[in-house]
Symmetry: C2
Subunit: 83 residues, 2 copies
């Protein structure tokens, strides 16, 4: 998600809940708390403030990130929109 | 997900794509390929075979897992059901 345009989420902020490191990889559990402007992950968030996690894996070659795998907790956002 | 009842997914199998270890934590990116019997993550999978990732963080105290955080790629399953 972080590779997407920050313009869509003007108030994007996150905390790092867990960070695990090896020489060639980093894994992070982020906690996001933000108000995406329009549709987000195909959901009609439309500026509503939502809180959710994102689990990321980064693979490094030297000091460069060469691969990112991300899974965002869409179900958590759906649950908040349903309230 | 792995803590749920395997009965619902008789053919549950997964590959470990990435595994990152520290003394107190493990992070894993799993690739699952299975046919959940009924509803799965609120989606009408109903025995269809789907492939998706799950990103897990485990926290250990000694040799015991004391916490698990899991995010499953629900969007990937939705995309396959829409095909």
């Amino acid at each position: 998600m972080l590779e997407q345009d920050f313009e869509n989420i003007p108030d994007l902020r996150f905390n790092i809940d867990v960070l695990i490191e090896e020489p060639s990889h980093i894994a992070a559990r982020l906690r996001l708390d933000c108000s995406p402007k329009g549709s987000f992950l195909g959901l009609p968030v439309n500026g509503r403030r939502v809180s959710f996690s994102e689990h990321l894996f980064y693979r490094f070659r030297g000091r460069k990130i060469v691969q990112i795998w991300s899974v965002t907790d869409k179900a958590a956002i759906e649950a908040q929109l349903a309230q």
